[in-house]
Structure formats: C-alpha cells, structure tokens
Amino acid sequence: MIRRTLKRAWDWLDDRVGFTETFGPMVTHLVPRGARWWYVFGSATLLAFMIQVLTGVALAFSYIPSTAHAYETLQFITNQAPLGHFLRALHYYGASAMVLMVGLHMAQVFLFGAYKYPREMTWITGVLMLGFVLVMGFTGQLLRWDQTGVWSVIVAAEQVGRVPLIGDWLARFTLGGDTVGGATLSRFFAFHVFIMPAMVFAFVGIHLLGVLRHGISPPPKPGEFVSRKTYKQEYAEHIKKDGVPFWPDSAWRDVVFGAAMAGSIVILALAFGPPELGKPPDPSLIDAYPRPDWYLLWYFAVLALLPKGTETLFMVFGPMLVGLWLIAVPFISRRGERSPLRRPWAWAAVLLVVMMISTLWVAGARSRWSPNFNVQSLPEKIVGTSSGPVAAGAQLFYMKGCLNCHLIQNEGGHRGPDLTSIGAQRTKEQLVLTILGGRGNMPAYANNLTPEELNAITAFLESRGSQVGKPR
C-alpha cells in the first residue's frame, strides 16, 4: 500500500519534472565491460569534492571570515562547538583525499592513453581542475588564519610579485592592499568558497559532458591503435557489442570504492583530528615557522632548493610551463598506442613525477636547509671537558649561532656540514680561514669574533675528531 502510494507519487513527480527522461539515458549509458577498478578514481574525486562542499557549508555556519575574528571562530569550532572538531578534521582529510584522487585519476588516464583523440578536452578540463583543487587547498589552509596562514599569504604575495611588469600589482591583489590586514582574509574566503567551487562545478559539468559524449575509453589492448579516421566508429561498434549500462553494472564499483574512501576519511578524522591551530594571526609575532600543508610541502622544498638566481624564472615560468605541458599532452601524443604495456615513456614520466614529488616531499618535511632554532648549548659529555679553551669554544659555538646550522654528534642544525670530526679533517689554518671569511652558505665571522674567541672556537673544533677515535 505504502509502496504503491510512493510509486504513484514518484511517477507523478517524474512526469512533471522529467528526471528519468533527462538523466535516465545518462546514468545508463553504455560503458565498456572491461572498465574495472582502474576506473573508480574520477568518481572518487567527485565524491571527495561533494564531501568538501557538505562539510564546508556546515563549517560556514560558524566561521566568520574576518581577519579579527576568524581565528577565534576556529577555536570555537574546534574546541567548543559540538562535532566541530570532527567536522574540521573531515574537511581536512576530505581535501587530502581529493588531492590524492585527482593525482591517481590523472595518472591512470595518462597511463591508459585515455586522453588521446577524441577526449582531449576531457583531459584539458581535468588539468584545469587540478589547478583549481590546488588553489582551493592553499586558500583553505589560509582560512585557518593562524600564524602560518598569515605568513603563507605573504609568501604567496612574494611569489606572484616576481611576475614581470605586473608583479607588484598582483602582490597587492593577493594581500588586498599594502599589507596583511582587514581586506586580506575576505578575498581568500571569496576564492575558497565561491569562485573556486563554482569553477569546479562548471568544469565538472564540461568534463562529464565529454565523458558522456565520447564514452568511457575501454581498457587499452596492446597493438590497438587510435586513429582519427576510424576511432569513433570502432568505439561505437565495440560498445554495441560489449557495452553494459553504467548504472548499475559498472557504478557499483564506484559506490564501493567511494564508500571505502569516505570511510577512510572518517577514520582518519576520528583518529587524528583536525590540523592544529597555530599561534594567533599577528604579523608582529616573529617566532613563526611557516610550513604549507602536506600537499604543497614538496613545492616548499622546491623554493628552498632552487639554485640561486634561477628562482624568479622558475617561480614564474615553472608552474606556467608545467600547466602548458599538461595541456599540450593530448596534442603531442594524439594517436597510436594506448596500452601502458607499449608506452614505457609514459611509465617513466609517471614514475619520475612520483619520485620527484616524494623526494621533495621528504626534503620539505625535514627542511634541513632551515637553521635549528631550538638548540641548547652542548653538554659536557659531548664537549669532553668543562674548562679551558675547548669548553669556552663549545659555549661560543653555541652562542655565536654555529650550532644552529652545524651538527656535533647529532646535536644542532643540519643547514651546514656535520662538524663532529672536523678536527680530523681540517688544519687550524683552514678552520680560521673559513670562520673569518665565510664560505658558500657560511657567513663570515671576521667582524664578530675577538682573537680570543676565535682561538677558543678553533680549539674546540680541533678537538672534534679525537673523541670519535680518529687520531689527528
């Protein structure tokens, strides 16, 4: 009885609105039978985006995008609002999942040669959405509006400031004026919650139009070539012979994978909670240690490791070139083999990118190029004595900032070489020369040391090496 009433109600609604007529053919369009688990990453990305919209809208019920209040509202959301802590975590891991899924989806499409004729535009809209996702990730990190948020804005402004001719103007556009202030956060909020999501919605639309128009590309077989003349006809025949309706024959995999992803997001959110809020967004607090969230940590490493003098060129044209190259991919390799088994260079490219990003990521997480600001003076156990010039030198080694950058038996910083056994490797003259005159990334200390201090430091350094058993 209830069932019948419901069915009648649905039929009425469907007749007046036309759901089935409009969307029916879309959800049941034929897809190649062999499209298995490889094909779930795109829908997972879309699901992650939906999770972001849902959690984002919920967060917006309490978040105030004002430079004066955002930080406090975030503290309220995190520490007081019921479920706020969990919701923030969901939004964070949802973002992480989205970045990850975009990456996997792209790698799969690239390896399967699915970007080739006639799906060039589907690939290009995908590349543009990768850009939007990264912009959303970055702006989202800023909306936390803690100390790192503020300094990330400044770092971003400095980067766009390097663009020739309009750099200054772009930087001011980023900051919303001359400095971080009243206007800054509102514009990032507008980008993060209105402009970028609207762009994603629009481009997901175009992307899906492409998917419906050209169909899902069948898993490639070695020796099967893409040719402009015959491809469409071949695909039509193939799908007629071997196609199954997307819903439900193929969609169940997307649902299962999507549910697993959503489940993982929930578990991560419950287990680890949201990213910590740093110090307040006061630009006059100097003890800052700005680091981007994990998905941009590798780029942070790039900025630290670029050879001096090439930076402006790289910062401005690097991302532009990468973007252009990605967009050009379907035009550079448009026909021919699609099978990853016959395209070793595609594998090489993907592996190279993965390796590069993970190496840089590790480098970024360690940031060995940064001085260690948390050093303590060396204990007697390491110095080996508590009096005389060696002990005085060890104390100076700490006070003069040497220890911030150099390691002595695992104490200190990683910026410069490890000096644990420097006494065994350099003569006194060499040490004095380097200390006074500097060398590479080592500042010159000529104006900052008295002769006695210099003697003490060299005495300390000369004593390094004997401890570790290397006779001088």
Binding site: S66, T67, A68, H69, V150, W151, I154, V155, A157, E158, G161, R162, G167, D168, W169, A171, R172, F173, G176, G177, D178, T179, V180, G181, G182, A183, L185, R187, P280, P281, D282, P283, S284, L285, I286, D287, A288, Y289, P290, F300, L303, A304, L306, G309, E311, W369, S370, P371, F373, M399, K400, G401, N404, G438, G440, N441, M442, P443, N447, N448
Partner: protein, 178 residues
C-alpha cells in the same frame, strides 16, 4: 544570408520571405547586443569593486615605537606598531613589526622583518649578530647584507626618525621583491 541562421532552429520550409529573414537577423542581433550590454553593465561595477582598492595606496604614516632612552646603543630589538591601514575588523593583523637598532646616541636603523627571499619573518640572533630566516635558510649580516641562502637582496630598511625624544618608524607596504 542563410548561413547566418542558428542551426538549432532551422527556418521552416525554406520559404521565408526576405522580410522574415531580416526580421530574424534583427531579433538575433538585438538580443545579443542587449544581453551583452546588460552583462557588461553589471560586470563592470562588480569587477571594478574587486580591483579598485588596489589602485589606492595607504598613505605612509610615522608610528612611535618608544622613547629614545628605552633602546640601548648597539642592541637590536623587535618593535611592534600598527600598520598604515588599521581598519576596525583587522584585529591583530593590523600589527606589524620591525627590527630596530640604536647605532649611536641619536642614530637608529630599522629593518623589515621580512626575508627578501619570500617574505618569512627573520629572527635576530644577538650573539651571532645574524638575522636568520626559518623558511628556506636565508641568513643576513647585522647590516642587512645577505650572508647565506636563497635571498639575493639585503634586508629592506624602513625610515626611522627621532621626534621629541621618541623613536618613530614610517609604515610601509610589505616589501615585495619584484
């Protein structure tokens, strides 16, 4: 003329009179023109609103950071003050800082806290007499010259003056290295 027709609405039997054709063309053109003008008319103020404030620079103002006696000769300290445009909703973000050193009895120098690489806040290590950057390892000597790392230019200096026994720093935009 025929190729101008919208292919989605092909004219009926092909038997239109020239008047019909020109009427159709007129409707098409007028719709595009009116629609385009409306869109443009609405877009100009919206886009203008987003960009207009950027053409205006906040006037630089002098901010007092303390009495002259409060600073020891030879010492470098961070001083905090309000930036040039402290709107009511800016909160703590309206605050800014500089590294100030009293060089002689009546001479001061002020450095921007922003590293000239990508703007991170440099820290002063008083014994080492170096400014160190926490981001990518930039280091500067006490006179602001580059000592190590990726920065290429010396630390930016801000104008300082002493008026009626008070030290004043002139506000400035975040130094952008273009």
């Amino acid at each position: 003329m025929k190729e101008n027709h919208n292919p989605n609405h092909p004219p009926g039997s092909g038997a239109e009179t020239p008047e019909e054709i020109s009427r159709r063309k007129f409707f098409r053109d007028i719709s595009l023109i009116v629609g385009g003008c409306t869109a443009l008319g609405l877009a100009v103020p919206a886009v203008g609103f987003i960009f207009a404030p950027l053409t205006r620079r906040a006037p630089n103002v002098w901010r007092t950071v303390g009495k002259v006696e409060a600073f020891k000769i030879g010492e470098t300290v961070d001083v905090h003050y309000e930036d040039a445009s402290p709107v009511p909703w800016a909160g703590v973000t309206a605050r800014t800082a500089a590294w100030l050193r009293r060089e002689t009895a009546d001479q001061f120098v002020a450095f921007a806290i922003n590293c000239t690489h990508l703007g991170c806040p440099v820290r002063w290590l008083p014994q080492a007499r170096l400014f160190m950057c926490p981001c990518h390892g930039g280091v500067f000597y006490e006179n602001g010259a580059v000592a190590a790392g990726p920065p290429e230019r010396p630390l930016t200096r801000y104008p300082v003056r002493v008026v009626n026994g008070e030290v004043q720093i002139e506000t400035a935009p975040v130094p952008i290295m273009t």
